[in-house]
Point group: C2
Chain length 159, copies 2
Protein backbone atom coordinates (compact mmCIF):
# COMPACT_ATOMS: atom_id res chain seq x y z
CA UNK A 1 0.00 0.00 0.00
CA UNK A 2 3.00 2.28 0.10
CA UNK A 3 4.76 4.02 2.93
CA UNK A 4 3.63 7.19 4.70
CA UNK A 5 5.09 10.40 3.27
CA UNK A 6 5.86 13.33 5.53
CA UNK A 7 5.33 16.85 4.21
CA UNK A 8 6.38 20.06 5.88
CA UNK A 9 4.64 23.41 5.21
CA UNK A 10 6.82 25.94 3.35
CA UNK A 11 4.54 28.86 4.13
CA UNK A 12 1.06 30.05 5.01
CA UNK A 13 -1.86 31.76 3.23
CA UNK A 14 -3.22 35.10 4.38
CA UNK A 15 -6.66 35.79 2.88
CA UNK A 16 -10.03 37.37 3.63
CA UNK A 17 -11.65 33.93 3.65
CA UNK A 18 -12.29 32.88 7.23
CA UNK A 19 -15.56 30.97 6.72
CA UNK A 20 -15.25 27.74 4.70
CA UNK A 21 -18.93 28.01 3.73
CA UNK A 22 -18.38 31.41 2.10
CA UNK A 23 -15.03 30.82 0.41
CA UNK A 24 -15.16 30.70 -3.42
CA UNK A 25 -14.69 27.14 -4.62
CA UNK A 26 -12.29 27.88 -7.49
CA UNK A 27 -9.92 30.73 -8.46
CA UNK A 28 -12.01 31.50 -11.58
CA UNK A 29 -14.87 32.38 -9.23
CA UNK A 30 -12.66 34.54 -6.99
CA UNK A 31 -11.82 37.61 -9.12
CA UNK A 32 -10.85 40.47 -6.87
CA UNK A 33 -10.25 38.24 -3.83
CA UNK A 34 -6.73 39.26 -2.92
CA UNK A 35 -4.37 37.83 -0.36
CA UNK A 36 -0.79 36.80 0.27
CA UNK A 37 1.32 33.67 0.35
CA UNK A 38 3.95 34.10 3.04
CA UNK A 39 6.86 31.76 2.35
CA UNK A 40 8.92 30.98 5.43
CA UNK A 41 12.32 32.69 5.35
CA UNK A 42 14.32 29.47 5.12
CA UNK A 43 12.63 28.76 1.74
CA UNK A 44 12.74 32.34 0.41
CA UNK A 45 15.71 31.72 -1.89
CA UNK A 46 13.55 29.23 -3.82
CA UNK A 47 11.32 32.12 -5.02
CA UNK A 48 14.05 33.63 -7.23
CA UNK A 49 12.56 34.55 -10.68
CA UNK A 50 8.98 33.58 -9.70
CA UNK A 51 7.99 37.22 -10.28
CA UNK A 52 8.38 36.66 -14.04
CA UNK A 53 5.28 34.47 -14.03
CA UNK A 54 1.81 36.04 -14.06
CA UNK A 55 0.23 32.91 -12.61
CA UNK A 56 1.43 30.31 -10.14
CA UNK A 57 0.19 26.95 -8.95
CA UNK A 58 -0.15 26.67 -5.19
CA UNK A 59 -0.38 23.30 -3.49
CA UNK A 60 -1.78 23.43 0.03
CA UNK A 61 -3.19 21.41 2.87
CA UNK A 62 -6.95 21.66 3.55
CA UNK A 63 -6.33 22.12 7.26
CA UNK A 64 -10.01 22.60 8.09
CA UNK A 65 -11.17 19.47 6.27
CA UNK A 66 -11.92 16.84 8.87
CA UNK A 67 -13.61 14.19 6.71
CA UNK A 68 -12.28 11.71 4.17
CA UNK A 69 -15.20 10.49 2.08
CA UNK A 70 -14.97 8.51 -1.15
CA UNK A 71 -18.41 9.66 -2.36
CA UNK A 72 -19.28 13.35 -2.06
CA UNK A 73 -21.89 15.83 -3.23
CA UNK A 74 -19.81 18.65 -4.73
CA UNK A 75 -20.73 22.33 -4.41
CA UNK A 76 -22.05 22.55 -7.95
CA UNK A 77 -24.42 19.57 -8.03
CA UNK A 78 -26.65 17.80 -5.56
CA UNK A 79 -25.59 14.37 -6.84
CA UNK A 80 -22.97 12.05 -5.40
CA UNK A 81 -19.72 11.56 -7.32
CA UNK A 82 -16.49 9.81 -6.51
CA UNK A 83 -14.30 12.26 -4.61
CA UNK A 84 -11.54 11.99 -7.27
CA UNK A 85 -14.06 13.28 -9.87
CA UNK A 86 -14.49 16.42 -7.72
CA UNK A 87 -12.27 18.99 -6.01
CA UNK A 88 -13.98 18.57 -2.60
CA UNK A 89 -11.64 19.23 0.36
CA UNK A 90 -12.70 16.12 2.32
CA UNK A 91 -10.50 13.81 0.23
CA UNK A 92 -7.69 11.39 1.05
CA UNK A 93 -4.53 13.42 1.77
CA UNK A 94 -6.50 16.72 1.85
CA UNK A 95 -4.29 18.39 -0.76
CA UNK A 96 -5.65 21.35 -2.74
CA UNK A 97 -4.33 22.97 -5.93
CA UNK A 98 -5.12 26.51 -7.14
CA UNK A 99 -3.78 28.51 -10.07
CA UNK A 100 -3.62 32.11 -8.83
CA UNK A 101 -2.58 35.41 -10.35
CA UNK A 102 0.72 36.66 -8.97
CA UNK A 103 0.40 40.44 -8.67
CA UNK A 104 3.85 41.09 -7.20
CA UNK A 105 6.50 39.68 -4.95
CA UNK A 106 8.12 41.47 -2.00
CA UNK A 107 10.92 39.34 -0.53
CA UNK A 108 9.21 36.25 0.94
CA UNK A 109 5.69 37.56 0.32
CA UNK A 110 3.66 36.77 -2.82
CA UNK A 111 0.70 39.10 -3.42
CA UNK A 112 -2.12 37.18 -5.11
CA UNK A 113 -5.46 37.65 -6.81
CA UNK A 114 -8.27 35.11 -7.42
CA UNK A 115 -7.57 33.56 -4.07
CA UNK A 116 -10.00 30.76 -3.12
CA UNK A 117 -8.02 29.53 -0.11
CA UNK A 118 -8.87 29.88 3.58
CA UNK A 119 -6.82 32.20 5.78
CA UNK A 120 -4.19 30.25 7.70
CA UNK A 121 -3.88 27.41 5.17
CA UNK A 122 -0.44 25.72 5.15
CA UNK A 123 1.34 25.87 1.77
CA UNK A 124 3.09 22.72 0.51
CA UNK A 125 4.53 23.90 -2.81
CA UNK A 126 4.64 26.67 -5.42
CA UNK A 127 5.13 25.95 -9.11
CA UNK A 128 5.10 28.27 -12.13
CA UNK A 129 2.04 28.18 -14.39
CA UNK A 130 3.56 27.86 -17.87
CA UNK A 131 1.16 28.49 -20.77
CA UNK A 132 3.04 26.10 -23.09
CA UNK A 133 2.66 23.27 -20.57
CA UNK A 134 -1.03 23.89 -20.03
CA UNK A 135 -2.59 23.66 -23.47
CA UNK A 136 -5.04 20.79 -23.72
CA UNK A 137 -7.26 19.92 -26.67
CA UNK A 138 -10.63 18.14 -26.87
CA UNK A 139 -11.28 18.49 -23.18
CA UNK A 140 -14.39 16.71 -21.86
CA UNK A 141 -15.44 17.82 -18.38
CA UNK A 142 -17.80 15.00 -17.31
CA UNK A 143 -20.63 15.86 -14.91
CA UNK A 144 -19.40 19.47 -14.82
CA UNK A 145 -20.71 19.99 -18.37
CA UNK A 146 -24.32 19.73 -17.17
CA UNK A 147 -23.96 22.98 -15.23
CA UNK A 148 -24.12 26.21 -17.22
CA UNK A 149 -21.47 28.90 -16.66
CA UNK A 150 -23.83 31.36 -14.98
CA UNK A 151 -25.07 28.81 -12.44
CA UNK A 152 -21.52 27.63 -11.84
CA UNK A 153 -20.38 31.20 -11.15
CA UNK A 154 -23.29 31.87 -8.78
CA UNK A 155 -22.75 28.66 -6.82
CA UNK A 156 -18.96 28.79 -7.07
CA UNK A 157 -18.66 32.39 -5.92
CA UNK A 158 -21.03 31.56 -3.02
CA UNK A 159 -22.75 34.92 -3.16
CA UNK B 1 6.82 26.81 10.94
CA UNK B 2 3.77 24.56 10.85
CA UNK B 3 3.31 20.96 11.80
CA UNK B 4 4.34 17.95 9.76
CA UNK B 5 1.62 16.56 7.51
CA UNK B 6 1.39 12.86 6.83
CA UNK B 7 0.27 11.68 3.38
CA UNK B 8 -0.55 8.15 2.38
CA UNK B 9 -0.28 6.91 -1.25
CA UNK B 10 -3.66 6.09 -2.84
CA UNK B 11 -2.12 4.21 -5.76
CA UNK B 12 0.89 3.68 -7.97
CA UNK B 13 1.98 4.62 -11.52
CA UNK B 14 2.86 1.97 -14.09
CA UNK B 15 4.75 3.47 -17.03
CA UNK B 16 7.51 2.75 -19.54
CA UNK B 17 9.72 5.36 -17.87
CA UNK B 18 12.33 3.59 -15.75
CA UNK B 19 15.24 6.00 -16.29
CA UNK B 20 14.77 9.47 -14.73
CA UNK B 21 17.24 10.94 -17.25
CA UNK B 22 15.11 9.76 -20.19
CA UNK B 23 11.64 10.55 -18.84
CA UNK B 24 9.83 13.44 -20.60
CA UNK B 25 9.73 16.46 -18.35
CA UNK B 26 6.11 17.48 -19.00
CA UNK B 27 2.95 15.75 -20.32
CA UNK B 28 2.91 18.04 -23.39
CA UNK B 29 6.24 16.48 -24.40
CA UNK B 30 4.99 12.92 -23.79
CA UNK B 31 2.44 12.29 -26.56
CA UNK B 32 2.06 8.57 -27.09
CA UNK B 33 3.68 7.65 -23.77
CA UNK B 34 1.00 5.45 -22.29
CA UNK B 35 0.70 3.93 -18.85
CA UNK B 36 -1.68 3.24 -16.01
CA UNK B 37 -2.58 4.66 -12.63
CA UNK B 38 -3.48 1.78 -10.35
CA UNK B 39 -5.65 3.06 -7.51
CA UNK B 40 -5.59 0.81 -4.45
CA UNK B 41 -8.87 -1.09 -4.00
CA UNK B 42 -9.81 0.66 -0.76
CA UNK B 43 -9.97 3.98 -2.68
CA UNK B 44 -11.65 2.60 -5.84
CA UNK B 45 -15.10 3.93 -4.96
CA UNK B 46 -13.68 7.48 -5.15
CA UNK B 47 -13.17 7.04 -8.93
CA UNK B 48 -16.91 6.99 -9.68
CA UNK B 49 -17.67 9.25 -12.72
CA UNK B 50 -13.99 10.06 -13.37
CA UNK B 51 -14.39 8.41 -16.79
CA UNK B 52 -16.47 11.42 -17.94
CA UNK B 53 -13.34 13.56 -17.92
CA UNK B 54 -10.89 13.46 -20.83
CA UNK B 55 -8.06 14.82 -18.68
CA UNK B 56 -7.15 14.39 -15.04
CA UNK B 57 -4.69 16.00 -12.67
CA UNK B 58 -2.42 13.54 -10.90
CA UNK B 59 -0.53 14.54 -7.76
CA UNK B 60 2.36 12.26 -6.93
CA UNK B 61 5.48 11.85 -4.86
CA UNK B 62 8.86 12.15 -6.63
CA UNK B 63 10.12 9.00 -4.91
CA UNK B 64 13.47 9.03 -6.74
CA UNK B 65 14.28 12.63 -5.91
CA UNK B 66 16.85 12.62 -3.16
CA UNK B 67 17.81 16.29 -3.12
CA UNK B 68 16.07 19.42 -1.85
CA UNK B 69 17.71 22.44 -3.43
CA UNK B 70 16.40 26.00 -3.38
CA UNK B 71 18.32 26.98 -6.53
CA UNK B 72 18.27 24.61 -9.49
CA UNK B 73 19.19 24.51 -13.15
CA UNK B 74 15.99 23.27 -14.85
CA UNK B 75 16.00 20.91 -17.83
CA UNK B 76 15.25 23.67 -20.31
CA UNK B 77 17.91 26.21 -19.39
CA UNK B 78 21.45 26.13 -18.09
CA UNK B 79 20.79 28.98 -15.66
CA UNK B 80 19.93 28.78 -11.98
CA UNK B 81 16.40 29.68 -10.87
CA UNK B 82 14.57 29.42 -7.59
CA UNK B 83 13.13 25.91 -7.36
CA UNK B 84 9.59 27.34 -7.02
CA UNK B 85 10.03 29.01 -10.43
CA UNK B 86 10.68 25.55 -11.92
CA UNK B 87 9.07 22.10 -11.85
CA UNK B 88 12.31 20.34 -10.82
CA UNK B 89 11.73 17.17 -8.75
CA UNK B 90 14.37 18.01 -6.12
CA UNK B 91 12.07 20.47 -4.31
CA UNK B 92 10.79 20.72 -0.75
CA UNK B 93 8.03 18.13 -0.26
CA UNK B 94 8.87 16.43 -3.61
CA UNK B 95 5.30 16.69 -4.93
CA UNK B 96 4.66 16.56 -8.68
CA UNK B 97 1.56 17.50 -10.67
CA UNK B 98 0.72 16.29 -14.19
CA UNK B 99 -2.38 16.80 -16.35
CA UNK B 100 -2.78 13.55 -18.28
CA UNK B 101 -5.24 12.26 -20.87
CA UNK B 102 -7.57 9.63 -19.44
CA UNK B 103 -8.08 7.08 -22.21
CA UNK B 104 -10.35 4.73 -20.24
CA UNK B 105 -11.06 3.34 -16.82
CA UNK B 106 -11.34 -0.34 -15.94
CA UNK B 107 -12.35 -0.75 -12.28
CA UNK B 108 -9.42 0.60 -10.22
CA UNK B 109 -7.18 1.10 -13.25
CA UNK B 110 -6.89 4.37 -15.17
CA UNK B 111 -5.34 4.06 -18.63
CA UNK B 112 -3.40 7.22 -19.47
CA UNK B 113 -1.62 8.98 -22.31
CA UNK B 114 1.02 11.78 -22.18
CA UNK B 115 2.54 10.16 -19.13
CA UNK B 116 5.71 11.88 -17.89
CA UNK B 117 5.92 10.00 -14.59
CA UNK B 118 8.40 7.32 -13.55
CA UNK B 119 7.27 3.70 -13.15
CA UNK B 120 6.54 2.93 -9.51
CA UNK B 121 5.72 6.51 -8.48
CA UNK B 122 3.31 6.73 -5.51
CA UNK B 123 0.07 8.63 -6.30
CA UNK B 124 -1.22 11.14 -3.73
CA UNK B 125 -4.38 12.43 -5.39
CA UNK B 126 -6.49 12.51 -8.56
CA UNK B 127 -8.59 15.53 -9.52
CA UNK B 128 -10.69 16.21 -12.63
CA UNK B 129 -9.28 18.69 -15.16
CA UNK B 130 -12.23 21.01 -15.78
CA UNK B 131 -11.87 23.33 -18.80
CA UNK B 132 -14.01 26.06 -17.19
CA UNK B 133 -11.72 26.14 -14.16
CA UNK B 134 -8.55 26.30 -16.22
CA UNK B 135 -8.95 29.32 -18.46
CA UNK B 136 -6.33 31.95 -17.73
CA UNK B 137 -5.79 35.19 -19.63
CA UNK B 138 -2.68 37.35 -20.15
CA UNK B 139 -0.36 34.60 -19.01
CA UNK B 140 3.32 35.56 -18.68
CA UNK B 141 5.68 32.60 -18.40
CA UNK B 142 8.85 34.23 -17.05
CA UNK B 143 12.19 32.66 -17.99
CA UNK B 144 10.34 29.95 -19.96
CA UNK B 145 9.48 32.51 -22.66
CA UNK B 146 13.13 32.72 -23.74
CA UNK B 147 13.02 29.13 -24.98
CA UNK B 148 11.33 28.54 -28.34
CA UNK B 149 8.74 25.74 -28.69
CA UNK B 150 10.93 23.52 -30.86
CA UNK B 151 13.89 23.64 -28.47
CA UNK B 152 11.55 23.07 -25.53
CA UNK B 153 10.08 20.00 -27.23
CA UNK B 154 13.48 18.56 -28.08
CA UNK B 155 14.85 19.08 -24.57
CA UNK B 156 11.59 18.24 -22.84
CA UNK B 157 11.02 15.01 -24.76
CA UNK B 158 14.66 14.04 -24.05
CA UNK B 159 15.14 12.40 -27.43
Amino acid sequence: MGKDIICRPIGIIHSEHRNPGKTPIQPVFADGCTGRAEIFHNYEKGLQDIEGFSHILILYYFHKATTQKLLVKPFLENVEHGVFATCAPGRPNHIGVSVLRLVKREDNMLFLDNIDILDGTPILDIKPHVSRFNKRESVRSGWQEKIDDQTAYKLGRRM
